[in-house]
């Protein structure tokens, strides 16, 4: 299995993100945040942005986008942050709580038993 990003030169990643190496610590994106396109790709758009908009016509998790784009998760989050700020995607964040919601745990169990 090829490992995305491993053999890419850092220069490519540098160019993709305009020199930003890390998502800011307060990046709103979790690995499993579901991203949904709010518009179609346009001509002249950065190709990674266009690819994200095509991939997210239906909800798609951040980690799936990273794998499909063959980019590290942190770089993917930077690209998504740009699209989110421009209103081109929306984000459905996981419902996080210090203690998991018992109702959600029940839903998980029902879903697993139905597998």
């Amino acid at each position: 299995m090829s490992r995305p990003g491993r053999d890419d030169s850092p220069d490519r990643l540098y160019t993709l993100t305009g020199g930003r190496a890390h998502a800011t610590p307060d990046s709103p994106f979790d690995l499993v945040t579901l991203v949904v396109a709010e518009c179609d790709p346009t001509t002249g758009m950065q190709s990674e942005h266009a690819a994200i908009l095509r991939l997210t016509r239906l909800p798609t998790a951040v980690v799936e986008l990273a794998a499909e784009l063959k980019l590290p998760v942190s770089i993917t989050k930077i690209l998504l942050g740009d699209l989110l700020a421009a209103g081109r995607v929306s984000a459905r964040h996981p419902r996080k709580a210090a203690v998991p919601d018992p109702d959600v745990l029940e839903q998980v169990l029902v879903g697993l038993r139905n597998l």
Partner: protein, 212 residues
Amino acid sequence: MDSATSEAAVEAAARTPLGATADNGLKIVVVGGFGVGKTTLVRSVSEIRPLNTEETMTQAGEHIDDISEVRGKTATTVAFDFGRITLDARNVLYLFGAPGQERFWFLWDRLFSGTLGAVVLVDTRRIDDSWYAIDRLEHHGTPFIVACNDFGGPTYAPSRIRDALDLDPQVPLVDCDARSRASGKQVLITLVEHVRNTYAPQASLREQELTR
């Protein structure tokens, strides 16, 4: 058909997209040493072919923006694979196979905060490989179970494995065959039931406070 549309059609055909109403991603992590069967377990229950990605960080922390630091020796890269299970119209479970080695734990909070729980996958022939993962999960306060993958070798009494791992009596210990969908499913159910039991007293306490 213009090229953008046909490209999208090809991408959609190659992938199994989620339903439009999906809005809550959940995480379970399978931790274990090299060759213990993490990817096999993920594959046996996943609705997609397992995908692979990676995360990189500098051990110095999050605040270094200079890309040259990423080139340097301080960069930690961890590759992990994952699969997915659509639970219902809204909930989607992502199952991550992650290496248990030391550098991986630098990335735990960044990648796996909010994880429902973890499965420590054990090869009983190399039980020592699991100590570190169990220690770290206890440290992070992540609920976990231990699943012994059946490699067809001699089986050990659960009490011997518990002793060897110095396992807390409350932590479930199960046998599994990572190649089997039914077995993998049972491992996940055991974990989520354990998570529910772990939090049940806290949840009922919270309800009491709310109704007071």
